[in-house]
């Protein structure tokens, strides 16, 4: 109830924040060094992948641990096609085809699952993609990966590529936001709130989940294509469990269901991994501590801090008169942070 009432105000705030962020982002290449722009591009690519997970986690309440697998299948499609002399159109067609196929497999396998079972199903499928890329050495190059891929000439330069990724990120975010606000998105959220009620109202829950996975997978595929372009290389590590898990952690860190949560999460994780690691040898410890601190003090993620504070202030005033219901253990924190 509060969610619907508060939506207008918080949406305007988010939109303003997004505009400020875009302005800052456009100015970035003129301010910082070449290398830092490269890291910024990597952050944006990861943010797109995190957005695809966030779409499922925020709207359907299902956290995936296998989305890097979808991204990697798109990436391998692109890389393979590029190395076999296909033009840009052909490369994107193959990448797109593989994305659709893998998203469909992900969707059809997991559409009747829930919570932890969805997590396990996506994890398993992600591992299948990883295993295939590892084993099918004649096609994927195995552990050695595929090198020698080049970006399209339109954004061959590091800063043009940055702008391309930035545009893609903004487009994807707006698209995901629009879908989330559409009747389709509202239905997804009703499924998140109560699957049995949605079913009794006549919704085909499994089909909606499949549809959501196809959309989410498409976004992951876009991330996969740009990930290959950003490092001009692909290896099984691109589809590994670690990659999927880190992307999911980015979502949790940034705030499940928040618009810019994926970007915030990606910035923190990659900032530590790529920049802080040059100065502090034990950067994984720092990353772990950040996770712990966020989970304890900002359970709705960094992007959800503002809402947490508002809730807390209001809650403190009202607590005695109208105690807030405790969150039922079954829904864990997954469903908690979304609006």
């Amino acid at each position: 109830m509060t969610r619907i009432l508060g939506a207008g105000a918080s949406t305007r705030l988010k939109l303003a924040a997004a505009l400020v962020a875009i302005a800052a982002a456009v100015a970035l290449p003129y301010v910082v060094s070449h290398y830092q722009v490269t890291v910024a591009s990597l952050i944006l690519v990861s943010a797109v992948l995190a957005t695809s997970i966030n779409f499922m986690a925020g709207n359907v309440g299902l956290l995936s641990l296998g989305h890097a697998g979808i991204a990697a299948s798109a990436g391998y499609g692109l890389a393979w096609a590029a190395l076999h002399g296909f033009g840009l159109g052909g490369q994107l067609l193959i990448a797109g085809g593989l994305t659709v196929v893998s998203s469909f497999v992900f969707g059809i396998t997991s559409m009747r699952t829930n919570g932890i079972f969805f997590l396990m199903a996506t994890l398993a499928l992600g591992m299948v993609v990883f295993g295939l890329s590892y084993r099918m050495a004649p096609i994927t190059g195995g552990e050695n990966g595929l090198s020698g891929i080049r970006r399209p000439s339109l954004f061959a330069e590091y800063w043009t590529f940055y702008f391309a990724v930035l545009a893609v990120f903004v487009l994807v975010t707006v698209a995901v936001w629009t879908v989330g606000r559409s009747p389709f998105g509202i239905t997804l959220r009703s499924i998140r709130e109560s699957e049995s009620r949605a079913q009794s109202l006549g919704y085909n829950v499994a089909a909606y989940k499949l549809g959501a996975m196809m959309i989410s997978g498409l976004v992951a595929g876009v991330a996969g294509v740009f990930a290959v372009w950003s490092i001009e290389f692909i290896s099984p590590a691109s589809g590994s469990f670690v990659k999927s898990a880190l992307a999911a952690l980015m979502v949790i860190l940034g705030g499940v269901g928040t618009l810019l949560g994926p970007l915030i999460g990606a910035s923190v994780v990659l900032g530590v991994e790529h920049i802080l690691s040059s100065y502090i040898e034990r950067w994984p410890t720092v990353l772990g501590l950040i996770f712990i601190v966020v989970i304890i003090y900002a359970p709705n993620g960094i992007g959800g801090v503002g809402r947490d504070l508002r809730k807390w202030r209001v809650g403190r005033k009202r607590r005695r008169a109208d105690p807030q219901p405790e969150i039922e253990p079954a829904s864990v924190s997954l469903n908690d942070g979304s609006d």
């Binding site: 070449h34 290398y35 004649p138 050695n144 090198s147 990930a227 290896s235 040898e281």
Partner: protein, 459 residues
Amino acid sequence: MTFSNSKWKRSWIGITSGLALALIVSACAPGGASEATTDATTTESKTEEAGSKTEEATSGQAVGSETAAPADPTVIKVGFLSPVTGPIAAIGIEMKQGWELYWEEHGTTAGNFVVETVYEDDGGNPDTALSKAKRLVEDEKVDVVVGPLAANTALAVSDYLIQQGVPNFHPVTAADDITQRNKNPLVIRVGAMSGSQPNYVAGQWAYDQGYRKAITLCSDYAFGWENCGGFVRTFTAAGGEIVNQLWNPLGTPDFSSYATQIASSGADLAFIGSSGGSDGVNFLRAYEDFGLADTIDILGNCCLLDQSTLSEMGDVAEGLHSVTYYAEGLDTPSMRTFHELYDSEYGGLPSLYVANSYVTAGVFSEALTTIEGNEIDPEGLVSAARSVNLEDTVFGPRTIDEWNQPVGNVYITKVEKRDDGKYWNVVEETFEDVGQFWNFDPDEILAGPPYDRTNTGQQ
């Protein structure tokens, strides 16, 4: 999560975790590492100063080199990429030790140059490795990149460095293709032999010893495929028979099923192409538990019985044979110096990975002394390194072929117990001047696909 906790409790938790964070962060900035990186990040105008500071910091025992340095040597900046965090950190750290050790022994002056190293951690991840390589090239303006370790990170980084025209020295990475199908005048492998190279010797030696039926167990990824590929090609070419090939996934915790298959295979030799690390230790455990010693002979690759894990294996390893290009029990002057140096600095016996970087630093230093003037031409540096002829490295004599791949000794080694109770690999037999194609025609090998589970080198 609700906010029903009392305010007091919250602030208490806040203070403690804040303190813990501060402690950990301050403890996390170890002297050496942060010093090197801080030095490296000073602005261009301070490069000279930073260079001499690094020299002071790293030359340590070799104080003399500082006074002997020419008046105005040119600083050559080396970016050293290795995974000192993540799943392969143990090897990454040893790799870094070898590089540091060399400059401590010899000082950082080589010819007209002073070597300044910027260390970076790639976490064993290609994305990170590439972005770190970009940082080294674009922000640090390094003249050469040494590393990284894992094959996928190495190939991703090489591809980028070639585009940037920056030479790339590989100390440890064994992927065949770096100096075969992806050969490039800017990329040179200095320390390690390629995945298949020493194992061509293994197959030939096994046949000559009278073995006729072999079973193989190799790691199920490129390195293992290449190891087995080398062994199988020469063993079957000589007339031996491969009764079965087993492939264990990287990080196999339990080798029981492989041990029973090996025991019941009817073969008279098992070739084990291990990736080293915990895989080697776990295999040896199963080898002991299932009493394989009584049923079959074992021949390990470079890494199964390497010093990095040999001490964890204990008595069971004694007497086992390996085929490798590094035997820490080799009795040469340079090996003795290497042992003393490593023992005084880190304690214990140096592993293959330390040796790889140590030799890379040696070749690099030697190449710099042959360059006249203060200009470094990227391809010139690599070709200078290629022409270095080292008579006495810890690997024995070494040269580098026209593919930028080392040619040198391959040893058949045996694990023996030293007087001090430690185990080491001593040389039983030496094969000299082993090249990456053994005695095959390079075109014939390159005409086929790279080794994998379907192309196992079977003749």
